[in-house]
Symmetry: C2
Subunit: 219 residues, 2 copies
């Protein structure tokens, strides 16, 4: 009756893919989770049976309120774990996602509380992602992709969204970490090259190279 690891990963995927308010497609879930489309169809029916998602054949899926709360509990565990792994076990921020992806399903409430306490109730994980509170509330912010800044605009890096550890490693080397001040110097859209000031360094990159870096625009 409790949710399995697999259930929880489906819920998280539905949550992430549905952030823009849209219904989540079978195919998108299959790609995200690395399973076949029939597996997704079958699982959506079972999650609907448990009251965690709204699903009708061919119409995609959304989380119910119960499903959203269950998802927030998993996301909370995931992000607390990442923070813990970096702060306490001193793993690199590029490595912790894979660990947290597994352990998020196996932490008791007691351990979650102990970690939360030890870390002093952190509000963000190492990648800048907000940690849902114990009631399932998630802070939201107005962030834009770094590549959306116009030439001359400034901002501050707030979140880095990727699960690829190689990209995280590179961004750390480049100084593209939460808190970093950035300024868009110039953009050659046709060539897909932009010049960005990151802290006190200059960076030339394509859109793809910083895809996943989100900034808060300077007012």
């Amino acid at each position: 009756m409790p949710n399995s690891s697999v259930n929880e990963d489906y819920l998280k995927a539905i949550f992430y893919l549905g952030r823009d308010g849209s219904r989540v497609q079978t195919t998108a879930l299959a790609r995200q989770l690395g399973v076949s489309k029939p597996s997704v169809t079958s699982m959506l029916k079972r999650l609907a049976g448990k009251g965690l998602v709204d699903y009708s054949s061919g119409q995609g899926a959304t989380l119910t309120e119960e499903g959203r709360l269950a998802t927030m509990r998993v996301v909370r565990r995931h992000r607390l774990l990442e923070t813990f792994l970096v702060e306490v076990l001193h793993l690199d921020w590029s490595e912790v996602h894979a660990e947290a992806e597994v352990l998020e399903h196996h932490l008791s409430a007691r351990m979650v509380d102990a970690i939360d306490r030890l870390l002093g109730h952190p509000s963000e994980d190492p990648h800048g992602h907000p940690i849902p509170d114990a009631q399932g509330r998630l802070r939201t912010r107005e962030l834009v992709p770094l590549g959306d800044l116009a030439a001359g605009e400034r901002g501050t890096v707030r979140e880095v969204r990727t699960a690829q550890s190689g990209r995280l490693q590179r961004w750390k080397e480049l100084g593209l970490v939460p808190g970093a001040a950035v300024a868009m110097r110039s953009k050659q859209d046709l060539e897909d090259v932009m010049h960005v000031r990151v802290g006190d360094r200059e960076l030339a990159t394509g859109t793809e190279g910083v895809d996943g870096v989100f900034v808060e625009r300077e007012e």
Copy 2:
């Protein structure tokens, strides 16, 4: 192809039940693991197929060398985890077994190393159990049940073996923890009552009440 959580719990159970060198019976495993006897028969065949146990129908099971090494890796993770949960997360020693029982199956090598390093390569867990080293070597000691001490004999508590958190809590209150000096004052075998000095306190108990407390005899 890697061992599942369930596989690992079977291996551990075979290891513990076979410590005395005997072959482990189907029924004993079924009771230990809380599953039916046919489930055990079926699993023993599969573990034998993986080369982890020696099994022939009706003759019980023993670990192969490969199975023993796999078991030592799980026991190492379990005991490092318990130590970590007590030392770092400050959970009570009576609570950590249940947590470790789950997490032992989901820790990466990287996390095991990080925990081992953080703790300074501990040699024992909070209950006094030796932690296998990374090569699967397990320290052995000559311990006897506290109840085996004869009147007048002294010793030191070295290990407490139980998975019941209530018993652990009680033993902690009584001072029956690894390192505690004990002395058998007197025994009334017919009534099954013994009087034991624990540190500077006096304890009257039946055999059952201290079953699982192991001591090193004073020479």
